[in-house]
Amino acid sequence: MAYQRPEFKEQYENYIGGEWVAPIDGKYFDNTSPVDAGFIARIPQSNAKDIDLAVEKAWEAAATFNKTSSAERSMLMFRIADRIEENIEKLSMVETCDNGKGMRETLGADLPLVIDQFRYFGGCIRTESGSVTNIDSDTVSMEVHEPLGVVAQIIPWNFPLLMAAWKIAPALATGNCIVIKPAEQTPVSLLVLMEIIGDLLPPGSLNVVNGFGVECGKPLASHPNVKKVAFTGETSTGRLIMQYAAENIIPATTELGGKSPNIFFESIMDEDDEFLDKAIEGFVLFALNQGQVCTCPSRALIQESIYDKFMEKCLARVEAITRGDPYELSTMMSAQASNDQYEKIMSYIDIGKQEGAEVLTGGSAYKNEQYPNGYYIEPTVFKGHNKMRIFQEEIFGPVLAVTTFKDEDEALEIANDTQFGLGSGLWSRDVHQVHKVSSGIQAGRVWVNCYHVYPAGASFGGYKNSGIGRENHAMMLNGYRHTKNVLISYNKNKLGFF
């Protein structure tokens, strides 16, 4: 089934205080689609003045929204989810146009996960509670939750709506007001979402300001009146965000990427069954979202004893990846998100070749005849060793680096020989091996006999240089609120010191 490029307005505005507000200095930039490099819409090129306005409006809203009941906030989450579900096809087409990822993924994964995220946090906030302890017979300690007030969020371009949902849902659920900045490569899908859900939200509770990082993101991240900053992106900006947070003495949560190992043990080849078929797909999942995933399984570690037979099947599956129109549901791989990302990936394919890695398949750009101006790259598999740069740097493209290992110890040594620790995968029919290896991997997520599944309720975050904090789980509620301890004495007698 084929969808098509959706209709957009010529120009969008910022969404501040429940209204569409033009950028104060009147500047806009052109947003283009990576599918065909064509114009989508003009987007506000905002600056510190617009951020100041959004933060001010957010605090005005916070006076009441911070105090709403959990029942109201829970219902808000459910209503947002329902409204998105009613518009899932439109939002999927918008996301495909804005980001370049295929409808196969936006309609099949991104948007269903967005909906699930809001429903999950709608459930969490209604069912959880603080705690009360009897410290002694006369003393009661209450741990009470309160929202932080107004929080800042900066989201990436690889899953524009889903990463927005991961940040918006726990913040709204806990009663915070938000100023959020989408990535400048993919600004329009969140604006279309606000057209769809804006009327459900108390004005000022969710404010969207667009613009470039240095002009708009930095004033937001360093603003003296935001009480927390949440960021997903790379390490230099992550460090700047934490630096600004330190200057303002506020918390920051960061998710900064990975170089995730995907480990295939020999037992997967013991039978030629549906599980082996699943493992082969697990190998090919490096191509999901054109490899632009923080947890892209971009290092495949394969046990020596099965390397030849397993790789033969895997490469055949990679070469069966269908290309073509991103709006067509059968198209498996679509466009990279931007020209500069395309250039960077091509430069890493060049580095892999220069380092002496062997190209097993792909290794070049893909000519999409329907969209000759879009940014398309062949799924590429290199064989090499773990000290190569293509094994150590997150390329953020459809580029897989494959190596072999002898035994469990060597698999773990290679898996953990990375500056990152976000995702990882292991495939085995041996339950004891699964336990040993999943315990030994230094990463915030270990997928066992699966990969790239992101159900709400399964925490997500990094070890090592992959950042700080856990999203996609109720534990992020505490990332958006204070805990106030109310300590009550029922004893009429003084302490006795004075």
């Binding site: 990436p156 390490t235 900006t237 998710e255 960077k344 240089n465």
Partner: protein
């Protein structure tokens, strides 16, 4: 003269000149990780707080070029060329409002070059 670890193209030098006119002295820090990872980030000098594990690799067109030690572990054998392309990277790098993005191109050192390559030093 030792072999340099970093260099810059003419096109990128011209962009640096434009940015320096507007923002004053500049610095570069190579990012890692997702989205715009492995990209040269251009900031006003001193904007990015260099830490005890950042390394100084050399100057490009009058700007210090820095990288975290964890990342340099895999750049020991690489000559890094800072170039510029049209595009719109995210991040707080200064060139992005111009519709341009710095990016790195790489030359893997030969054994002879490696024997004479500039030593890296702590950033601070």
């Amino acid at each position: 003269m030792p072999v340099e670890r970093v260099s810059v193209t003419q096109a990128a030098s011209e962009v640096i000149d434009r940015l320096r006119d507007e923002h004053g002295e500049l610095m570069f820090h190579l990012s890692g990780g997702c989205c715009d990872g492995s990209s040269p980030m251009c900031y006003p000098a001193g904007e990015f707080r260099l830490g005890g594990r950042d390394l100084y690799l050399g100057d490009i067109h009058g700007c210090g070029f820095y990288m975290h030690a964890d990342q340099f572990e895999y750049y020991k054998n690489s000559h890094t060329i800072v170039d510029v392309v049209e595009g719109r990277g995210a991040s707080f790098s200064l060139e992005i409002p111009l519709g341009l993005r710095f990016l790195i191109r790489t030359h893997i050192f030969s054994d002879e070059e490696l024997a004479d390559v500039r030593p890296v030093v702590a950033a601070n």
